[in-house]
Every structure is written in C-alpha cells, then in structure tokens.
Subunit: 461 residues, 2 copies
C-alpha cells in the first residue's frame, strides 16, 4: 500500500473496488493452465466506465502498467501480470446488462457479465446469444472480446468478432470511446471497434459491448459418426454442408486417442461405439424446426453418406451425453498428466494431409509421443495436443514440438493460433511465422494507441 498510486486510488475508490489482500489476489495471479505465477501492485475493479477512465488516467500519471483481466481463463498467459509494478484491472464490478432489445435482436452488457448470464438474459426474451465455450460459467464478456473467443458454435454463428455490434472502451490516454451502436449496418469510416476485439487487452479496457442476438432455437438434433480416415471426415463435412448447411451448428472431431483418454478418466460417460474409432465426428443441428424434423434431416444425411456407423441422439438427454464426450476431452487430458497444447488453424481441405504428416514427423522425432487430436474441424481448427511425454513441460521438448508443428502448419497455409490468441506464450512463434509487414503494422497500431506501453506489456509483442 506504500505505492503512491495505491494511496491515491484508495482515496478515490470505494473500498470494495480496490483489492490489495494477498489471498484474494492469489487466484488472479495464477494463469488458467497454472504455468505462470504473476505479481501485481493490486487489483482495481471499476464499477463504471468513468471510474475505469479515472483509474487508467491515474496509472498513466504514475507510470504504472495495466493488465486487464476478465474471467482469467486465457490459455496463453494473456491475462497474467508479470510485474510487481503493474495493476490488475478487473471487470468483476461491471456486471450490468444495460439493455435488451428483443425486436432489434441486440443486447448491451458490461464487460464483467459472465457468458452464461448473458445467454440467460437473452433467453428470458426468447433470444439466443450463441457464443458457447467450455468456460462459459466463468469467462466474462471483456475477456471474450479481448480474445475474440470462438468455441463450439462458430460454424454457425461465428467468432465473438461477428457477434459484436458496438464497443465502449477506455483508451490508454484515458479517453472514453463510446461506440455502443446497436446497428447491424454502419459504414461510417474505419470500423475502430475491430481493433479492440482480439487485442488481448493491449489497446485499452473494454467496459461494455452491444451484441447480436438470434432467434431462440426451437429444435436440435445431435449425432456421432465413426469414421476410419480423415478424408472421410472432410467428405462428410461436404455432404453435411450441402444437405443442412444453415442449420449446422457444430461439426466437431475427436481422434481415437482423445476417446481413449476420455474413457479412461471419465469411465461413467457412455461411449457410443464398442471401440474408439480412428475418428469420431459430432454433428449438431439446431434451428427453427422441431427436434423431430431436424432429427429426420440428420438421419437422411447419415443414410445418404453411408453412415451405418452412426449414433443419433433420440432425445435431449442423449444429445447432452454425446456433447459431454466432446466437452470432457480437455479435462481428461489434464487428468492424464502434463501435455503440450496447440490450437492450430488450417484450411479445412489440408487437414487430412496435415494430420498424417504431423503424426509421422512426431514419431520420427520422439517415438513415444502420443498426439491427441480433436476440435472444431468444421472451422479448420484443431486442438493438437501431445501427451504421455516425459517431463512434457520442460522447455526443450516443448520448443522442438512447437517448431515442428508450426513449420508444418505454415507449410499448409495454416496458423499457429486459431482461437487462443498470442498472449505471452506465442510471441516468439508469431515473430517467426507471421508476415513481418503484419507484425510491424501491429506494432505501429500499438504505438499509436499506447505509445508508452501502458496496457498489458509483454503480451502480443
């Protein structure tokens, strides 16, 4: 409390808006993968955009850097303060749903609203906010926007970027950017809100956003299909898009390794197939048609695509059970032990060749390595993890694995990060694999908005 910024903030903020207690700070200093343990002066929790602007202005005056933090669910260390002279800026007290306009299909929420609460608020007005991901009970809107979160329904509804109509944010110079336009169309020059989406808190502090809503879905249908080859996954995707494209909500894939891990660590989950097939694909349809109509359309598709090896959920609880298999993979991997995780973006058409070549290169490199491959294959997004490694977390093995996979992903026109972002853990890879013009331009944008590097230093660059 001896830092002059804290003395000043203590005099300006209600006591509940400034956290200095070490026990309360501790969980905010450990990243979601428990790999980074940070340091901080303390944590400020503004309860309005004006209060946030005041805090930022005071930090600026004192030369204290700011680390915005949402639900602290970043997988790349993007929200962990690593300097004892930086201030955590949280959105826990920005909790209001400011407005719901069911007729206009928009909802305006503050940055601290948890995703599940936003989804619930929309539902009370018979609307859907379609963003959905594993951490929906703790991830909050500020973090979702800062990371352009993806998740399980991107195939149908897009990433966070596609769901944000307007943003309110405090800029590093303390000015308030008031851009909460509830408009589906607004061509008014550069679309500045885009800069803050996916910026990982490096360009300012998002305090609220206006989001797109959709009609509540009336029915759903879910199936799991067993396939022998990755090429068959693509062929099924093609048939699915043609047959039921606009009601296709998710097209997820798990390899046999993922299914084996899950069966081992969650033995009570019901397995759809006698033995884990090389590839299991989860297809989810949803929309304005009834469960029955959607199930019929899915059944037709499965028959037409020769899907004798498919399980179609007969009711909502069976649908949940199939989804549970997909959702438990990350937890199963955690129970299994340390692993090296990757979040790869690929042109969908390159996925079979990539999977085959990656497996072969990894085997040559380290014979005991076991890739676990799953993810949003319909979005060209593979979570490609390496488990069963000796001392998997040690630097050298991880660096070599990253090098091997990132080179291969670049060869296939893909990218090192699909939805997890760059954070602290992917900076070297971004410098190595991204176009230098792009990286330089990003640094220019950063220097323009945050010339003194006040916001989230050490993240992105």
């Amino acid at each position: 409390m001896n830092h002059p910024l804290l003395v000043e903030l203590a005099s300006l903020l209600p006591p509940a808006n400034l956290i200095l207690n070490a026990d309360r700070l501790a969980p905010r200093l450990l990243d979601a993968r428990k790999r980074l343990r940070g340091q901080t002066l303390g944590m400020a929790l503004p309860s309005s955009v004006e209060e946030a602007a005041m805090i930022i202005t005071r930090c600026r005056a004192h030369g204290v850097s700011i680390v915005p933090q949402g639900g602290n669910t970043s997988l790349v260390g993007g929200a962990t303060p690593m300097s004892e002279t930086s201030l955590l800026l949280g959105c826990d007290r920005l909790k209001r749903i400011r407005q719901i306009d069911p007729c206009g299909y928009t909802l305006t929420a503050e940055a601290g609203c948890v995703l599940d609460d936003i989804r619930d608020a929309a539902q009370t007005e018979a609307r859907l906010f379609p963003l959905w991901l594993g951490s929906s009970g703790s991830a909050c809107l500020g973090g979702l926007i800062g990371t352009n979160a993806g998740g399980l329904q991107v195939q149908r509804y897009g990433n966070t970027r596609e769901l944000v109509l307007g943003i309110e944010a405090v800029l590093p110079d303390g000015q308030i950017f008031r851009g909460l336009h509830p408009l589906r169309k607004r061509n008014a020059g550069y679309d500045l809100k885009q800069l803050f989406i996916g910026a990982e808190g490096t360009l300012g502090f998002v305090t609220a956003a206006t989001l797109r809503l959709f009609p509540q879905e009336r029915g759903q249908a879910v199936a799991m299909v067993a396939l022998d080859h990755a090429e068959q996954v693509l062929a099924l995707f093609d048939q699915t898009k043609a047959a039921v494209g606009e009601v296709l909500t998710a097209f997820e894939m798990m390899d046999s390794e993922a299914m084996i891990l899950m069966a081992r660590h969650f033995p009570t989950l019901q397995q759809p197939f006698a033995a884990p097939p090389p590839y299991s694909v989860l297809i989810a349809l949803s929309g304005s048609e009834s469960d029955g109509v959607l199930a019929e359309r899915l059944m037709e598709l499965l028959l037409a695509s020769g899907g004798e090896n498919a399980v179609l959920a007969q009711d909502g609880s069976q649908a949940k059970a199939l989804w549970a298999l997909r959702e438990h993979i990350p937890a199963a991997q955690t129970r299994q032990g340390p692993s090296i995780k990757h979040d790869l973006a690929l042109p969908i058409s390159a996925i079979p060749a990539f999977i085959a070549e990656a497996a072969s290169l990894l085997k040559q490199w380290l014979p005991q390595v076991r890739p676990v491959v799953f993810g949003h294959v319909g979005d060209g997004n593979l979570h490609y993890n390496l488990g069963l490694l000796p001392e998997a977390e040690t630097g050298q093995i991880e660096a070599e694995a990253n090098g091997l996979l990132f080179d291969l992903v670049a060869h296939y026109g893909g990218d090192i990060s699909a939805e997890h972002g760059i954070g602290r853990l992917r900076i070297a890879a971004a410098d190595a694999h991204h176009d230098p013009v792009e990286r330089a331009l990003m640094r220019q944008v950063k220097a323009m908005l945050d010339p003194t590097g006040l916001f989230n230093p050490g993240v992105l660059f």
Copy 2:
C-alpha cells in the same frame, strides 16, 4: 503527358496499363449519381500487386495523390478524383480468380473481378458467394471491400466485412500487406484487414481478397405482404425470425410512394396488389430445403401472422417478378427526376417511430415534399429519399433536409450511413454527428498509415 510521373510510368508500364486518353478517362471522372465531375492526371491499371506497389511508390516519390477506383458505383463520391494532379488507380486488369477451394469454402479473387463473375465462379463449384446488390454486374471486389458493401442479402449472410477472410493490399508506403489467409479462425493479434474494409480507399490499395463461400442454395420462396402500419412490419419481422430465422435471406420494405413511382415508370411490371398498400414487405427464404418445403414454411408463416393480404410466388419466374419490384425502385426514382437520397441506419425497433416523426417534420418544413421510403428493413437500413422537390439538387434544400433527418436519426440511436459510406458527400455530417473521439481516432489511423495524405484525399475527412 508532360507530368514527370506519367513519363516515368509510361516507361515502366505496358501501354495498356496506363490510360491518358480523355475519352477513355471521361466515364471514370463522372460519379455514379452524376453529381461530381472530376479531374485526373491519368489512370494506371496495374496487373499485379507488385506493379501496384511500384506505381504507388512512384506516386509517392512525385507527391502525386492516388484515387483508387473500382466499378465507379459509389453513391457518395468516394471514387471520383477531384484534383488534376491526382492519379486514378483502377483494378480493371486485376481480374484473376486465383483459387477456389470448394472443400474449404473459400475463393481468392483479385480486386478487379466483377461481383457477378465471382458469383458465377463460385457456382461452377456448387458454392454460393452471397453478396448481391443492384450493381452486381459492374461493382468489383476492390470497391465492394473499400465500401464494405451491403445489399440485398445482408440479413442472412452479412455485409462484405463478414465475407472477407483475408486481404492483400499495397500500403501507402509501398509495402505489400500479404494477408490472404483462407482461415475461418485466426487469432494472431490485431485483425488488420478490418482497417481496409470500408476505408473507401484512404488507407491503401486492395489488390485481392480471400472470401467465404457457402453451400449453393437448393430452394427458395418469395412472398410480398401488404401491411397498413410500420408497427405491423416489425411484428411480421419478429414472427418471421422466430419461424424461419436461419433461412430468411431478405426482409425488404417499400412504402406506397415507392410502389406508385415504380408503377408509373415501369408499367409493365406486374403489381401484386390492386392498390399500393402503405407498406409492402418482400420476404425471401432460401436454403438447403426444396422450393416446395420453403414455400410451405412461408405459407404457414403468412397464415399464422394473419397475412391474408399476401402474394406467394408460385414458381421461380413469379419470385423474380416480385424481386423486380424491389429492384426497380432506384431506377424509378431516377426517371421521376432529381431527389435527395439518404441511406439511414436505425435500431430496427425505432423504425416505426422514426418514419412517423420524419414524415411529420418534413411536412412542416416543406409541405410539398414526398418521402420515398424503402430498403433493408430487416437490417435496420432505410433508403429514405425525397422526391418531387423543386430544384431538389440545390444546396440549401438538401442541407436543410439532411440536417432535419440526421438529427432525428441520431435521436433514435441511428446513423447517417448504413451502407453507402461517407465519401465526399457525408463528411460534414460525420463531423457533426459522430463521436469526436471516434473521428479523432480515425484521423490518427489515417496519419499512421498515410502520413502524407497520399490516398484518396478529400474522402472520409
């Protein structure tokens, strides 16, 4: 030809890539609404991104400003060079479809590809590129991106911004930004391509883009509904979204004035109703279901919403005839005589109140004024035009009308431009109505990328 830049370019470019002939330049100097007649040194037509970079570097060395021009269909003067010492930079020779990846649902095209040609190329692979607008036979990709074009299917598929995955562009400093990523997800820091979309050629020259494709549609259904009140339009929209949301492709509205104009100037078009109702709504469904299934769903919706006053197209040619009514309104208005045009964005829920209040204010202001209101009501986008005015094009009347409508649109949380952009004609309105922080930030972005104001001076700012 005595300007040293032209001498230099003539020595560096093939003859076909440099246009100096006044007759060939003339149509490129007149804007689409025939309100601006420009001037230029000449027109360069690069045939590769490297050639574009060379031209831009030479312009920069000579201090000659650059006006990018696509199909020259801007409605706000965004593509008209107004200085005899600026160079037009066209994309007529950037015509290649570089790649189609049907499996990955992407297409990479150069900036000079005309929208219809892109749609056709996608169709040969059983894919849909869904952007569709009145000028689809002449608007080209560079201009569509520069203006973030909207059009007739935004309700379902989004604006151009939502359809662009990657961009290749030459920056004002002559560097090439190589961002043609065919990836649905890529969280790699700031999404820089967003800066060029809707920038109206003020931040560089887009040479190519990678676009999202969709499954080809199998069926369609179209209906026209007659309604008495704007509130009923909203109620019908609400019912439509709930009943058939994901197959709703367009929800367009025309008021009686628009229908009267159209009947007068296109008497051969078949009118759906005996007398023009206060509001006619066109509902278009399309998707993976058959014509018959979609028509049945549309019929059910119309019956449930009490739509006894509705016409459902019985086949493709009737569907075309209904669409023709909507599509001919701009031409009918042009035949009628001069008019003052507005492209207003509004929260959908505010539209009935806005329409009523605008009509009443306009009547008080100038009793003989006749508003013609039509547009993409499902996107909150009204084309609000004033016809039958004495000397409608004269400055004072137009300035007063703009002032009145823009103040009202701001009062309702809307905006002065939904899809047409700012160009030259909306700069004063943007300065008056947009947040000064936003305008200042845009100027900062402009100064960062184009510090000497090389690109499209006089547009946006």
